[in-house]
C-alpha cells in the first residue's frame, strides 16, 4: 500500500491550483484524500503531481444569500452534517452527509472531493440532484455554473473541464414546509449505498423531488415518479404507484434477477413514507 513517486504542491489560491492543473499530463487535486489516496496506494492512480487545495481560503465556508446556500468545496462531510445553516435551509444535504462512510471518512472527506470523484456509489450525488444544486467552477475562462443534472457524466467522469476547479456548491434553500429523507442501504462490506434515495416534498405537496444513487452507473432523478406524485399528491395510495414507476424507469444494468429494480421499488416507497411521516 505504497504510492508511486509523485510531486507534491500546495496551492494557496484557486487560480494557482488551476495553473498547476496544466503543468503535467496527470495532475490531481487533493482535498480530503479519501478517494484519491486509496487509489494511489493501490497504484490504480499514479499522478505525476498532487496539488493540495485544502489551504485555499476561497474553498471554505458556508453562507446563505437570497435563498441560496453556498457550501465551499472544502467543507468536510461532518461540517455539512452539523452546520446549522445547512441544517435549516437544506436539511436533505445534511442528512445525506451524516451517513457517508464512517466517522473517520466524514471527518476528512469533503463535499467537493466526493462530487468531483463522481463515484457511482457515492451518497452526495443523490442529494445535489434532488436539490437542483449548481456547481460553481473556476477555470481559465473565469467562473461558470454547472447544474447538478449535467455534472455527473459517467462513473468517475464529470462535466468539469481539465483545468477547472470546483469552488462551491450552490443549493437553493428548501421551502419552509419541506420534509425530506435520505434513505440508504449500505453495502455490508464497503458501506457505500447499494441504493440511496434522496427525496423531498414541499410547497404544500406541489414540489416533489427525488434522486437515486448507487444502483445505476450514475445517480439519476426519478422524473416519472416525481411527475406522478406532483399530479396525484403524495399519499399512501400514490406512493406505491410512484415506486413502481421509479423501478420500471430506473436505468439499471445487469439486473438478471430483477433485484435492483425491486430495491428501487422498496426504497422509493420507504423513503416517501418516511418523508410523509416526518411532516407530521
Amino acid at each position: 500500500m505504497l504510492t508511486a513517486p509523485f510531486e507534491f504542491r500546495r496551492a494557496s489560491t484557486v487560480n494557482e491550483a488551476s495553473d498547476l492543473l496544466q503543468q503535467g499530463t496527470e495532475v490531481k487535486l487533493l482535498a480530503g484524500g479519501h478517494s484519491l489516496l486509496p487509489l494511489m496506494k493501490l497504484r490504480l492512480a499514479a499522478p505525476e503531481m498532487v496539488v493540495d487545495i485544502s489551504g485555499i481560503p476561497e474553498l471554505h465556508g458556508v453562507s446563505v444569500h437570497d435563498g441560496v446556500v453556498t457550501v465551499g468545496a472544502m467543507t468536510r462531510h461532518v461540517e455539512v452534517a452539523q452546520n446549522p445553516v445547512i441544517q435549516a435551509e437544506a436539511p436533505l444535504l445534511s442528512k445525506t452527509a451524516a451517513v457517508i462512510g464512517d466517522v473517520q471518512v466524514r471527518n476528512r472527506g469533503t463535499i467537493g472531493g466526493s462530487l468531483c470523484h463522481a463515484d457511482s456509489a457515492a451518497d452526495l450525488p443523490a442529494a445535489v440532484l434532488a436539490l437542483d444544486a449548481q456547481m460553481v467552477v473556476s477555470g481559465p475562462d473565469g467562473i461558470r455554473k454547472i447544474p447538478a443534472s449535467e455534472f455527473f457524466v459517467a462513473p468517475f467522469v464529470t462535466a468539469l473541464g481539465a483545468r477547472e476547479v470546483l469552488m462551491a456548491v450552490e443549493v437553493p434553500a428548501m421551502p419552509s414546509d419541506a420534509a425530506s429523507t435520505y434513505l440508504k442501504r449500505p453495502h455490508p462490506a464497503s458501506g457505500y449505498p447499494v441504493i440511496g434515495v434522496a427525496c423531498w416534498v414541499g410547497n404544500g405537496g406541489t414540489s416533489v423531488k427525488m434522486a437515486i444513487t448507487g444502483i445505476g452507473s450514475t445517480a439519476f432523478r426519478a422524473v416519472e415518479a416525481e411527475a406522478y406524485l406532483t399530479e396525484q399528491g403524495v399519499n399512501a395510495s400514490s406512493i406505491g404507484e410512484a415506486a413502481r414507476l421509479a423501478a420500471v424507469h430506473a436505468p439499471v444494468e445487469d439486473d438478471v434477477t430483477g433485484y435492483k429494480r425491486q430495491l428501487v421499488n422498496v426504497y422509493v416507497s420507504r423513503a416517501l413514507h418516511q418523508t410523509m411521516a416526518g411532516k407530521d
Binding site: L2, P5, L42, A189, S190, T257, Y259, Q262, V266
Partner: protein, 782 residues
C-alpha cells in the same frame, strides 16, 4: 489473599495494546534494515517463460533482485506438516519462489530488496515476467473430473489424498425407514486477522545465527520448518513472535515470504523486513473451509438417528499448507456425528488441489464444517418426519450418564450434560411461546425463524500419541517453566503462543492462585524460541487446556521444593507444613508461619538449605494431556426475514456453553462473542469468490463483507460447568466454540423462517439477494 481464579480480571496485555505500545513485527526497526517486496503472479496457472530483472536492478536503492532460479538450489521445498494415515497423500512441491510454473494468483516469482519500502515496490513494478497462461481449476469437485488441467504434474486428477474412515454403511441405509440426502457447500472464507503478516530476519555473521521475528501462532514449529527449508540448524536459528494481532489459524503455516526474507538476510548480511499489504493478505495468506459435502442421514420415522455419512471434496488450494491436510480429515471426519449418539458413521474425503490460495485452519478448523453438516441434517430430518427440531435433538443427544462416551470413530467424549445446556437455552428463549408468536406473525405476512445448534467439538489438542497416530508431524504436549526470582516475583515461560487470546492474564491467574501471590508479581513470557525451550503453539483451543496444564504442574514443582525449605526453616517435618494463601505454616500451629517470599529468598541465598536440596527456585514441566477436551452447548438464533428485500434481521442470539472450569469469565465472554461473530459472518456475509480463471473476485474489504459490530444484537450467554477429567485444571477450551456452533444455528433459523415458502436450503452466505430470489421462485409454495 483473594480468590483470583474465576475472577474477571482486566487483561494485563491491554495496558500496552490499547495505548499503541504493543510491539508487532512491523514495529521493529534494526540498523541497516532493508525491505523486501515480492513480485507475484497475476495468473492462477501459467508457465514462467522468462523473468527480466535488469530494469529493476538498476532502480535507485535496489540491493538485489532474486528469482526462483536463484533460490531453487539453495532452499528446500516448503512441506506440509500433516500427513493423514492411509490417505496415500502426495506432496505438492512448493518452492519459496516459483521458477517454472505459477499455481495461484499471488504465487511469488521474484523478490526485490531495496533500501526503502517505496523503492522496493517501485522496482518490483519494473520486473518483467513473461507468462504462458494455462487453463485453471478452481472448484474442488470439478477439479477431479477427467480432462481437467492438473495443478501439479505429480498429482493425478488433482487428488492429493483420499481419506476414509468408518465402515461401509450401504446395508444400514438400504434398510432405513427414512433417508435424508443433501449437498452442502462450505464456502471458502478469508481469515483477515487485524494485523497482516510480517517477517524480519537478521543474520549475525559472528555467531552464524539467524533471528527471525515473524507473525506466527507457533514459533517453535516455525523454527523447526525454517531450519529444514533454510538448512540452518535449530541451535543457530531463533524465531520470535512478540505481539501478534490475531491469527485465527492463518498464522500457523510457514509461508514463502519468511523463508525468502530469511534467505536474503543471510545472503546480503542486512536485516530484511517483509510486510504484507491487506491486498496481499487476501491473496496469499491461507484461506479456510471450502468443501462440497454430499451427506446422507438414516433414521426411523419416530426420530431416532441411525447413521450419518459424508463424501466430501475439500479444496486445499495450490499447495498443501502446513496443517492443511489435517483440517478436512481428522478435525472434520471424526466428529460428524456431533453431540448425538449415532451408532453408524463414515466419512470419505478427497483432498483436492486447485489454482487457488492454499487452505489451512481457520477458527474451528474442520469442526465448523462437521457441525454445520450434522446440525443442518438434523433440521432437515426433523422436517422430513415432521418432528420439532428440539424433540429430535433431545431424543438423540448423548445422555449425561453415558460419559465417557465413545463415538463411532473411537473418540472419547470426556464429560458433559448436553440436555442441561439445551434446557437452559429453552428456558431463556421461552420456546413454546415463541413458536406461538411465530405462527401468529405468519398470518400477518411476517416471517420469523428459530434455529438450534446443539454442538460438541473436540479441542485442547492434544495427546502426542494421538498426534502421531493421526499423522500430525509434531508433538502436542506443552512446556512451562515457572521461575521464581529471589524477591518472590515470578516469570513464567510457556511454549504456547497466545496472540490476542489473553493468556498473559489467565496464566498469571493460575500461578497467582496457586502460589498465593499477586498477579502483578507474575510475568508471562511466550513466543521466543531463545527464551522458551520448546512448545507447540496456540491453535485448536489448546492453550489453556495444555499450556495451562503445564503451568499448573510446573507451579506444583515450585511449591513442592519450597515446602521442603519452609519445613527446614520452621524446624518441622515436611508433612507437617501446610501451604495456603502464600504462607507456609505448621499444621495445627497457624501462627508459626513463613511467607512464600521469605522461603524464596532462602532458596537463593542458600545459607541454610535442607540436605539434598539445590539452591534457587524454579519448576519446569512438560505436560502431555490424557486426551482431547470436548466443549459443548446449545445455541439458538431468532431471525426475521423481510420478503420484500430478503433482509435477515438477527433478533436474538442465545449461547449456553459448557467449557469446563472458567479461569477468567470476561475473557471467556470475549472469546465467545468473537467466535459468534465469525460464525455468523460465515452464515450471512462472508464468502470468497473466484472466477473460472482463478481470479479472486472478493479481494478487498470493499467486496468481502467482514461482519461489523452494528450487525449484531446483544448476545445472551450462559454457562454450565462440567470440568474435563482430561487435564488438571478441568478446562475445555473456548476459542472456537462460537465459530463452530453459530453458523448452523443461523441458517437453521433462516430456513425455519422461509419454510412457508417451501425453501429447504440455500447456500451460504445467505445474502439478501439470494433469499429474495428464492422467495420469488417459491412464491407458489406460500
Amino acid at each position: 489473599m483473594p480468590q483470583v481464579m474465576g475472577q474477571a480480571l482486566k487483561r494485563h496485555e491491554d495496558i500496552r495494546l490499547i495505548r499503541g505500545r504493543g510491539q508487532y513485527t512491523d514495529d521493529m526497526t534494526l540498523p541497516g534494515m532493508v525491505y523486501a517486496k515480492m513480485v507475484r503472479s497475476p495468473y492462477a496457472h501459467a508457465k514462467i517463460l522468462s523473468v527480466d530483472t535488469q530494469a529493476a536492478q538498476a532502480m535507485p536503492g535496489v540491493l538485489a533482485v532474486f528469482t526462483g532460479q536463484d533460490t531453487k538450489d539453495e532452499l528446500g521445498l516448503i512441506p506440509t506438516a500433516w500427513i493423514p494415515p492411509n490417505s496415500d497423500l502426495k506432496m505438492t512441491p512448493h518452492p519459496a519462489l516459483a521458477f517454472d510454473t505459477v499455481r495461484y494468483v499471488g504465487d511469488a516469482v521474484a523478490v526485490v530488496i531495496a533500501e526503502t519500502p517505496y523503492q522496493a515496490q517501485d522496482a518490483a513494478d519494473q520486473v518483467q515476467v513473461q507468462y504462458q497462461p494455462l487453463e485453471a481449476v478452481v472448484h474442488p469437485r470439478e477439479a477431479v473430473e477427467d480432462g481437467r488441467p492438473q495443478v501439479h504434474e505429480e498429482i493425478d486428477h488433482n487428488i492429493a489424498f483420499h481419506w476414509t474412515v468408518g465402515p461401509d454403511l450401504d446395508a444400514v441405509f438400504q434398510q432405513a425407514e427414512v433417508v435424508v440426502r443433501h449437498e452442502f457447500r462450505q464456502q471458502r472464507l478469508i481469515p483477515n486477522a487485524m494485523e497482516p503478516r510480517a517477517a524480519l530476519a537478521q543474520y549475525n555473521n559472528a555467531t552464524d545465527e539467524l533471528t527471525v521475528w515473524v507473525t506466527t501462532q507457533n514459533p517453535h514449529i516455525h523454527r523447526f520448518l525454517l531450519s529444514g527449508i533454510l538448512g540452518i540448524p535449530e541451535h543457530k536459528l531463533r524465531v520470535v513472535a512478540i505481539d501478534v494481532g490475531g491469527g485465527f489459524g492463518s498464522k500457523i503455516a510457514c509461508y514463502p515470504d519468511e523463508v525468502v526474507a530469511s534467505w536474503a538476510a543471510r545472503k546480503l548480511h542486512r536485516p530484511v523486513k517483509w510486510t504484507e499489504t491487506r491486498q496481499e493478505n487476501f491473496l496469499i495468506t491461507s484461506h479456510g473451509r471450502d468443501h462440497v459435502q454430499e451427506v446422507e442421514l438414516a433414521g426411523t420415522r419416530d426420530g431416532q438417528i441411525q447413521a450419518i455419512r459424508v463424501k466430501a471434496y475439500s479444496n486445499l488450494g495450490a499447495y498443501l499448507s502446513t496443517a492443511g491436510p489435517g483440517v478436512p480429515t481428522i478435525l472434520f471426519g471424526l466428529i460428524i456425528n456431533g453431540a448425538y449418539n449415532i451408532p453408524h458413521a463414515s466419512a470419505d474425503v478427497y483432498g483436492v488441489v486447485t489454482n487457488t490460495t492454499p487452505v489451512d485452519a481457520y477458527r474451528g478448523a474442520g469442526r465448523p464444517e462437521a457441525t454445520y453438516l450434522i446440525e443442518r441434517m438434523v433440521d432437515l430430518y426433523a422436517r422430513e418426519i415432521q418432528m420439532d427440531p428440539v424433540a429430535v435433538r433431545e431424543k438423540n443427544l448423548v445422555q449425561a450418564e453415558a460419559f465417557p462416551y465413545t463415538n463411532p470413530f473411537g473418540l472419547q467424549y470426556d464429560s458433559g450434560n448436553y440436555q442441561g445446556t439445551l434446557k437452559i437455552a429453552l428456558d431463556m428463549l421461552d420456546y413454546p411461546k415463541l413458536r406461538e408468536e411465530q405462527a401468529a406473525l405468519r398470518k400477518d405476512g411476517k416471517y420469523i425463524g428459530i434455529g438450534w445448534s446443539t454442538y460438541v467439538e473436540m479441542c485442547g489438542l492434544g495427546p502426542s500419541e494421538v498426534a502421531g497416530a493421526v499423522g500430525f508431524q509434531g508433538g502436542l504436549w506443552e512446556s512451562a517453566t515457572v521461575r521464581v526470582h529471589p524477591t518472590g516475583k515470578v516469570t513464567v515461560f510457556t511454549g504456547a503462543s497466545p496472540h490476542g487470546q489473553g493468556e498473559e492474564t489467565t496464566f498469571a491467574q493460575i500461578v497467582g492462585q496457586e502460589l498465593g501471590i499477586p498477579v502483578d508479581d507474575i510475568e508471562i513470557v511466550h513466543g521466543d524460541t531463545a527464551r522458551i525451550s520448546m512448545g507447540w503453539g496456540t491453535y485448536g483451543s489448546r492453550t489453556t487446556a495444555v499450556g495451562g496444564g503445564a503451568i499448573h504442574l510446573a507451579t506444583q514443582k515450585v511449591i513442592e521444593k519450597a515446602k521442603k525449605i519452609a519445613a527446614h526453616k520452621l524446624e518441622v517435618s515436611e508433612s507437617d507444613v501446610v501451604f495456603e494463601d502464600g504462607m507456609f505454616s505448621v499444621s495445627g500451629v497457624p501462627d508459626r508461619q513463613v511467607s512464600f517470599q521469605a522461603v524464596t529468598l532462602d532458596a537463593y541465598l542458600a545459607w541454610s538449605l535442607p540436605e539434598g536440596v539445590e539452591p534457587a527456585l524454579e519448576g519446569t514441566a512438560f505436560y502431555d494431556p490424557k486426551n482431547f477436551t470436548y466443549p459443548f452447548g446449545a445455541h439458538v438464533a431468532v431471525v426475521s426475514v423481510d420478503p420484500d428485500t430478503g433482509d435477515i434481521h438477527l433478533m436474538r442470539y442465545i449461547a449456553v456453553d459448557d467449557i469446563g472450569n472458567i479461569i477468567n469469565p470476561m475473557i471467556v465472554e470475549g472469546q465467545i462473542h468473537g467466535g459468534l461473530v465469525q460464525g455468523i459472518g460465515q452464515a450471512l456475509y462472508e464468502g470468497a469468490e473466484y472466477d473460472a480463471e482463478g481470479q479472486l473476485l472478493t479481494g478487498s474489504l470493499l467486496d468481502y463483507a467482514m461482519p461489523k459490530a452494528r450487525f449484531f444484537p446483544r448476545f445472551e450467554t450462559a454457562h454450565t460447568v462440567t470440568p474435563s477429567p482430561h487435564n488438571p485444571l478441568g478446562v475445555k477450551g473456548v476459542g472456537e466454540t462460537g465459530a463452530i456452533a453459530s453458523t448452523p444455528a443461523i441458517v437453521n433459523a433462516v430456513m425455519d423462517a422461509l419454510h412457508p415458502f417451501g425453501i429447504r436450503d440455500l447456500p451460504m452466505p445467505l445474502t439478501p439477494e439470494k433469499v429474495w430470489q428464492a422467495i420469488q421462485q417459491n412464491q407458489g409454495g406460500r
